[in-house]
């Protein structure tokens, strides 16, 4: 086996994994802080990216002007979600909230296309998506500059959010909310405000993911599907852990690429669709709460 090729696949996988992690973070954020599995995260990624591009197109402004506008839109969306969906559903079972987020996903998808049209757009960030020449010459390994940048952004986000959760009073309150809405209300945690803020932050995370994924693949409806790539990352890393998202992403990314390249050809290929899930599942058999997830308390 060609070792160089192996490393190329490995590195490519790790970097793809970071891209998955970027989406997974959005899930973790909401789950960790409210116990809701936010199915609409993918739709939010699409919505954010499309809004950003839509604004540049419609008003003829530059991307840098469109981003603040999109941020405002995402914050408004976060507030609206809290007001319209979450507030009336306080203290309901997880599955109900999960379902509500599916409803939201439909709504947001429809809204995005209604506002900006169903067309496929391009989004160009000032980072070129070509192999880094330095690495190419030095190590003869093809790694895109873009991916490296994305990895850096992702690392930054995770660090910031992990700090938020572990070091601040708000972080503690968020975890409390995830455990017990009713008790969180009783101790005076302002659920409404916290949720609005949280969903706004999730919107911003979605924007970052949307920009990077959009620049990578074009801004189109399929952006909503990247959520499917993030799910195995999520269960492997643990729903409640920011670092878990990154580590899970790396593991999933690398192993899925290696599997596809080195095992795929023997079984007809295309195993990337289920391989990460099966891998994560096997892993869960050993640790049912994922790598870094909070232990599920089962006690009587």
């Amino acid at each position: 086996m060609n070792l160089n090729f192996f490393f190329e696949v490995l590195i490519g996988g790790l970097l793809s994994g970071v891209m998955y992690a970027l989406v997974a973070i959005g899930f973790v954020l909401i789950y960790k802080a409210s116990g809701v599995f936010n199915f609409a995260q993918g739709a939010m990624v699409y919505f954010a990216a499309l809004t950003c591009v839509g604004v540049t197109e419609k008003f003829g402004v530059s991307l840098w002007a469109a981003i603040p506008v999109t941020i405002v839109v995402m914050i408004l969306l976060g507030i609206a979600v809290e007001r319209v969906v979450l507030r009336p559903l306080v203290n309901q079972p997880e599955i109900t909230l999960f379902m509500a987020t599916i409803g939201m996903a439909f709504f947001i998808e429809g809204l995005a296309q209604l506002l900006w049209g169903a067309g496929v757009r391009k989004l160009e960030l000032p980072i070129e998506d070509v192999p880094s020449e330095y690495l190419m010459e030095k190590y003869n390994i093809v790694v895109s500059q873009f991916d490296i940048t994305a990895a850096a952004v992702c690392g930054l986000l995770v660090t910031a959010l992990a700090l938020l959760f572990s070091k601040t009073k708000v972080g503690r309150a968020l975890r409390a909310v995830a455990d017990d809405h009713q008790a969180a209300l009783a101790v005076g945690i302002p659920l409404k405000r916290i949720w609005a803020v949280l969903w706004s932050v999730a919107g911003l995370v979605a924007l970052v993911a949307g920009l990077l994924w959009g620049a990578r693949n074009g801004v189109q409806f399929a952006l909503t599907f990247v959520a499917l790539k993030a799910l195995p990352v999520l269960i492997l890393g643990g729903f409640t852990s920011m670092p878990g998202a990154i580590v899970g992403g790396l593991i999933i990314g690398a192993s899925e690429k290696l599997a596809e390249v080195f095992i795929g050809p023997y079984v007809g290929g295309g195993i990337e669709g289920w391989f990460p899930y099966v891998l994560a599942l096997l892993f869960l058999l050993v640790r049912p709460e994922g790598l870094f997830g909070e232990k599920i308390i089962r006690r009587i």
């Binding site: 060609n2 970097l15 049209g117 496929v120 093809v142």
Partner: protein
């Protein structure tokens, strides 16, 4: 009995494939409106109704069932979706409504003896694949030059992506090139591993049998891995503006198959002038007039209208024809260059001549290349692949289908 010629359009304008759906159905409706403005088909106005399928087979079937009985009964249906087409395949003969599958669906449906009501007009996947190999052979300086070459078939891992495999495999054997099959799991938003494999294999050509978002990702990932785009040849589903625009410059030089010669045509001008200028165009964005999907829609509508004329010639001019009669019209199409010229669409699509044995009627395609802004045809003439080979395959599989379904192959009158 209403006087209108009513067409059922189970369309999709939301969801992952909305971009294609809105262009295609937009083109159809634009052309219908144009025909109606000039008095209809020998005075018979065309009417139609859309129904959102979201590209979902089950909703598509519901749409079909709902639309088919309206306005005195639908006389034609076109779902632009393999899943929906399969879902209603069995019902067509019972309902006596012809269905066209312009450039998709099962290739062996071109056998009118087994599938009397199904029309994969212009080109099926098999003929398209054959034409692709023909083009690649020509490009290399003759089919014999293909010997020893490596061709990657990078495909959407579904019925759609696997459809051309029998043809490609047969041709690989025949011409001695190596066919490397690499599947991409739908929806294909990540293709790093596939392109690494491709880079590793160093193929001479890559056939991109992709669909939807998979195409843009493929082109981008090729760029990221430094694979030259002009070595990639896409199937027509991978050859629209929707596939290249989002990739920015990455798609420059990328080639793809098409059944329409890119460019401008009198019929499009007319659409601009008579419809869009008057605010009656169907596309939200007039810049999409003449885009690949739009043109394909217009082409579809042109063929249907010609079929209506043919049927009216036989069954009574100036009168609405029934589904059965329109089926006859579709089976006896003869749209030659002269006719196309009269319509204002000369060269926009290849001439089409159908018969009971051949519901496809052409099999001719062109290759186009993206220059960063628009598509340009790079083959002056229509390309036709090894039709004898596809014919043989077609007979085999369609007869197997007939046996399984207990159908006695026969031409309808």
């Amino acid at each position: 009995q209403p006087a209108d010629q009513y067409i059922a359009l189970p369309s999709y304008r939301v969801g992952p494939y909305a971009a294609g759906g809105s262009g295609f159905y937009g083109g159809i409706i634009d052309y219908f409106n144009l025909v109606n403005l000039s008095g209809g088909v020998n005075g018979v106005k065309i009417s139609w109704e859309e129904c959102e399928t979201e590209y979902n087979p089950s909703r598509g079937v519901e749409c079909y069932e709902r639309l088919k009985t309206k306005n005195g009964g639908a006389t034609l249906v076109e779902p632009l979706s393999t899943g929906v087409a399969y879902g209603i395949l069995d019902r067509l003969a019972v309902d006596r409504i012809p269905m066209t599958m312009i450039g998709y669906g099962r290739s062996d449906a071109a056998n009118g003896k087994v599938f009397p009501y199904v029309f994969p007009l212009i080109t099926s996947y098999w003929n398209q694949a054959a034409a692709m190999i023909k083009y690649l052979g020509d490009k290399n300086g003759g089919m014999d030059k293909l010997k020893g070459k490596k061709i990657v078939h990078l495909y959407h891992d579904s019925a759609f992506g696997k459809e051309p495999l029998p043809v490609l495999e047969a041709l690989a054997k025949q011409h001695g090139f190596e066919l490397i099959k690499i599947p991409v799991t739908p929806p294909g938003s990540e293709q790093q591993s596939q392109w690494l494999q491709i880079r590793q294999a160093r193929p001479d050509h890559v056939i991109l049998w992709g669909w939807g978002s998979m195409n843009a990702v493929a082109i981008k990932t090729a760029q990221r891995n430094g694979f030259p785009r002009d070595k990639i040849l896409g199937v027509w589903w991978a050859g629209s503006e929707e596939d290249t625009v989002p990739t920015g410059d990455a798609a420059k030089g990328y080639t793809a198959m098409t059944i329409n010669t890119p460019g401008n045509y009198p019929v499009l001008d007319e659409i601009r002038k008579k419809l869009y200028a008057a605010g009656k165009g169907n596309l939200a964005d007039p810049n999409r007039i003449g885009s690949v999907y739009h043109m394909r829609g217009v082409s579809a509508a042109i063929l249907w209208v010609e079929a209506m004329r043919a049927a009216q010639d036989k069954y009574g001019k100036g009168k609405r024809v029934s589904g059965e009669q329109l089926r006859w019209g579709l089976e006896n199409l003869n749209v030659d260059e002269a006719r196309l010229k009269a319509i204002g669409a000369l060269n926009m699509l290849p001439p089409v001549k159908t018969s009971c044995e051949d519901h496809e009627g052409s099999g001719a395609v062109k290759v186009q290349q993206w220059d960063g802004k628009k598509w340009n045809a790079i083959t002056p003439n229509w390309i036709v692949g090894d039709k004898a080979l596809t014919r043989k395959l077609l007979e085999e599989t369609s007869n197997a289908y007939a046996a399984e379904k207990k159908i006695t192959p026969a031409c309808l009158k």
